[in-house]
Symmetry: C2
Amino acid sequence: MDDTLVSQLQPGQLLARGVCRHLGSHNFVAVEEFVPERGKRVDVMALGPKGEIWVIECKSSRVDFTSDQKWDGYLEWCDRYFWAVDVDFPTELLPDDTGLIIADAYNAEIIRLGPEEKLAPARRKALTLRFARHAARRLHGYRDPRL
Amino acid sequence: MDDTLVSQLQPGQLLARGVCRHLGSHNFVAVEEFVPERGKRVDVMALGPKGEIWVIECKSSRVDFTSDQKWDGYLEWCDRYFWAVDVDFPTELLPDDTGLIIADAYNAEIIRLGPEEKLAPARRKALTLRFARHAARRLHGYRDPRL
């Protein structure tokens, strides 16, 4: 993606881009705008080498965070939950018992892991299948774009 | 993918392209050149809505088929196994107890399902995770191509 394309992304998408790059260095793969169940959409869902599932919500500003009433509904869809914000974000707004990632469009760093609350096996199985099908469907769209 | 790109694909890849399109109409998603374990690579691996795992080997000619000594090693990596061949392929060469798909670069049709041999749960779990990570990694390569 060149800088022209970067300039077309929304602020939250720029953070997601850096987050996804950084997750690769932890051997996690990630998809964006993932729907864990009808009516919910998370910014980034990541899948680790042992099947660990992380959710990362990207917040580009104080207003972006304070207007989000839905985030605690995502906790039940992951083993670990993170916020991703830029270096100027007032991180004291964020709950202590959540993970924290500082990101820009090019990279990111995990500052705080937050607690791990392991998913029940049945939900992990269903989420992994849904992640796999989401990623393959999007990939197919790139490989065979006339579809 | 326009016709210029189609012309750059190998015969087996052209079949795989039609197969992947057709699988979508059965609500299966698919990835190409998937490695179920070190040293094995399948042409197409497909994942169904309930987690069904299919392997499809694409054979562009008689020689392509008769030179393949590895195919029965793929049976243990799927619930159903298929050959995909073009309309001129001598299908009497293919074992009766395998699935059959007739394909071209644009579409395909399932002629014979073949028997179902369900994977053990632990292998299905591991394969689904590997599929998910494969698809997400490839997708990321398209979304962020400088990586």
